[in-house]
């Protein structure tokens, strides 16, 4: 009859009184039935943390098992403790609910959910939160705002030009609070916050489209995060879960034809007629010099209504994929877009059943392709 909780307790008083079970009801639907504490089960539970129970000790929770905070992951001292764990002497405990991950000797627990953690090289989308002293603070959905230094952006007039005091004074005319931009994580500070840069023509201010946010784990880091989709729409899947959908511009088509970064500018210069009419120069420096105020423009290009509908449809199918917790890839977005064509009304796409059916379609299509 002695209850498990006091097995280890030295006190006689507490122990004698604790020889009671706690009753609890879980579901009203099942009638008010009393579920007696399953002693055997909780016994083993307790011993897992307190005693060296034979099957659990020295072994480690396997890769991918779910652990919850306070749970003993291993009592083997050989492991290095990574994120999501804490330790006391030899015991390593989980501090978040998630899955155990082992990389060589590094043991960590990956939380099921959590904020985006920036890493160097991530392509992210952010929103300017604050204009400060020679820097912008950018909300990238991480624990802290990222920093975008004035020195890490391309200013009108080209890279090689020095940042002058007048630039500092007119920082708001480049990027002001609320503006969206895409950028790359340049480096990380000691406390985990990020420093960004936009020193490439594929980064910079965003316009001609719409923004949406999905949980960040759904966007997997890959070589390319900008995709030109059918229907003349371009999607930027930020690693931080921020997504931008826009009308495909010349820069996008140029980027798409040659994804090698070095040749971007060259390819672009050929297609940059719209931006710099009359310029036929192929020189990169020339191009940089001429990258004009237009990259910081707030004006949208004229967008036709059908284009707007297409963008909205993409936006809603991405919401549907996110709802079904399906990782976002170019192929999946396209597949979902095609699947969504059965619904003529774009607005109906975000109804729960429709989102689930689209998600199911995408999964099924993928399975079929995998099998065949």
């Amino acid at each position: 009859m002695s209850s498990c909780q006091t097995c280890k307790d030295p006190s006689k008083v507490l122990q004698s009184i604790m020889s009671i079970d706690v009753l609890s009801v879980t579901k009203r639907q099942e009638g008010f039935q009393f579920v007696n504490e399953v002693e055997s089960e909780s016994d083993s539970d307790v011993e897992m943390t307190n005693n060296d129970e034979k099957p659990e000790s020295n072994t480690i929770a396997n890769d991918g098992t779910i652990v919850t905070p306070g749970e003993l992951v291993t009592d083997d001292p050989v492991w290095m403790r990574g994120h999501g764990t804490y330790f006391l002497e030899n015991q390593t405990y989980a501090s978040v609910a998630g899955t155990v991950s082992r990389v060589n000797r590094l043991l960590s627990v990956i939380p099921l959910r959590g904020r985006y953690t920036p890493e160097t090289g991530d392509h992210v989308i952010g929103r300017i939160a604050e204009v400060g002293n020679r820097r912008w603070k950018v909300d990238i959905g991480a624990k802290q705002h990222a920093v975008l230094m004035l020195g890490s952006v391309n200013l009108p007039g080209g890279v090689l030009r020095r940042k002058s005091e007048s630039d500092e004074l007119q920082m708001r005319s480049f990027l002001k609070e609320g503006d969206l931009l895409n950028a790359e994580v340049q480096s990380l500070f000691q406390d985990g916050s990020a420093s960004l840069h936009t020193r490439s023509l594929k980064y910079g201010k965003l316009r001609n489209g719409t923004f949406l946010q999905v949980p960040s784990p759904l966007v997997v880091r890959s070589k390319k995060h900008t995709h030109n989709l059918p229907g003349n729409v371009t999607v930027i899947l930020g690693v931080n879960g921020f997504v931008w959908l826009r009308k495909t511009s010349e820069i996008d088509t140029a980027n798409n034809t040659s994804s090698v970064a070095g040749r971007n500018a060259a390819a672009l210069s050929g297609a940059s007629g719209e931006y710099k009419p009359g310029s036929n120069s192929v020189s990169i420096t020339r191009l940089e010099e001429e990258s004009s105020w237009e990259i910081y423009s707030d004006k949208n290009d004229p967008i036709s209504e059908s284009m707007k509908r297409t963008i909205t449809r993409y936006s809603n199918v991405i919401k549907a994929l996110a709802h079904c917790e399906i990782g976002l890839t170019e192929a999946r977005v396209v597949a979902a877009y095609e699947a969504s064509m059965t619904f003529s009304h774009v607005g109906s796409l975000i109804e729960r059943e429709n989102m689930e059916s689209i998600g199911q379609d995408v999964i099924n299509a993928e399975k079929m392709r995998g099998n065949s």
Binding site: K8, D9, S11, L14, T49, G70, F87, L88, Q91, Y93
Partner: protein, 305 residues
């Protein structure tokens, strides 16, 4: 209690290290309270309580008021514990919504008012229309930790010491007899709650505290201001002489073993007994000293003998 005072890292390390070796800065034992000094003023219900450098003044006053409609047989009783910069620069004037101020006033409220230390039914004069409203104003004069403990003693001493004017009721007619005319009557105090505050320190890291089995957290009684600033957790136990727990408040802070907390309660009881005796003794002395003169002046003696 103080937010704005900060202690340098080296000093805090020094203090914790000293505690680990069993030493407190003022060389008290861990479970030793500072001397409590109780002085009464000229008037009834005017009391100043000191404990080390902490100094609290409490004044009890009363007036006639109308009872609450839902409780026609009960008098009113308010306790006001407002801090002012007088006690220390860390207290803001007129701002009593700070965490510690709220906790302090709530604990006093629970310890004295909600526990029924004052017999509010005895304050009723005419049911539903007239009753005494008793007011305890606590003033913090100097702060060196232990506000809750000291103010509780101060309020209780004040209530025990206070005398309200005598009244006679004949029908609807209520006569209040001035103190000069008729000997005022004491309030009905049902029990004397005593607060004892424990401060917990974690000599090791948080992991040891939560997962370890050593339970070697340090536990001090009656911390000074410096110790209060550094503590990781606190427990205020209010008890009375009848072995009743009046109130316990461990509002978060360092997790402590249930048995250690029980142990604290038992320690607190010993202190409660000691302090209750002290309070009754001091009160007795004060009344004696007052009666000394009245006995001389009274004409009653001659008649009785």
């Amino acid at each position: 209690m103080a937010k704005d005072i900060e202690i340098s890292t080296s000093e805090s390390k020094f203090l914790i290290e000293a505690l680990r070796q069993g030493l407190r800065p003022d060389l008290r034992k861990f479970e030793e309270i500072r001397d409590v000094g109780i002085t009464f003023g000229k008037d009834y219900g005017d009391v100043t309580v000191t404990m080390g450098k902490t100094k609290v003044h409490c004044r009890i006053s009363c007036s006639i008021a109308q009872p609450y409609e839902d409780r026609p047989f009960e008098g009113l009783f308010y306790i006001s514990t407002e801090t002012s910069p007088m006690a220390g620069a860390q207290f803001e004037n007129g701002n009593n919504t700070g965490e510690d101020e709220v906790l302090c006033s709530r604990i006093i409220e629970k310890a004295v008012r909600r526990s029924g230390a004052l017999d509010v039914e005895g304050l009723c004069i005419v049911a539903g229309s007239k009753c005494w409203a008793v007011r305890a104003d606590v003033h913090f004069l100097d702060c060196d930790g232990g506000f809750i403990d000291v103010s509780c003693i101060a309020v209780m001493c004040g209530l025990l010491h206070f005398r309200k004017p005598d009244v006679t009721v004949s029908g609807e007619q209520v006569t209040i007899h001035p103190v000069e005319e008729r000997e005022p009557v004491p309030l009905g105090v049902l029990h004397i709650p005593i607060c004892v505050t424990f401060s917990f320190f974690n000599p090791e890291d948080a992991e040891e505290n939560i997962k370890g089995e050593s339970n070697n957290e340090i536990c001090l009684i009656d911390a000074t201001l410096k110790e209060e600033l550094l503590r990781d957790g606190t427990l205020t136990v209010t008890l009375n002489k009848n072995r009743e727990v009046v109130q316990v408040s461990k509002a978060g802070g360092l997790p402590m073993d249930a048995l250690t907390l029980m142990d604290c309660c038992h320690k607190a009881f010993k202190i409660t007994e000691k302090l209750t005796d002290k309070i009754t003794e001091v009160l007795k002395k004060d009344i004696e000293s007052r009666n000394q003169h009245s006995a001389m002046l009274s004409s009653e003696n001659a008649r009785v003998s």
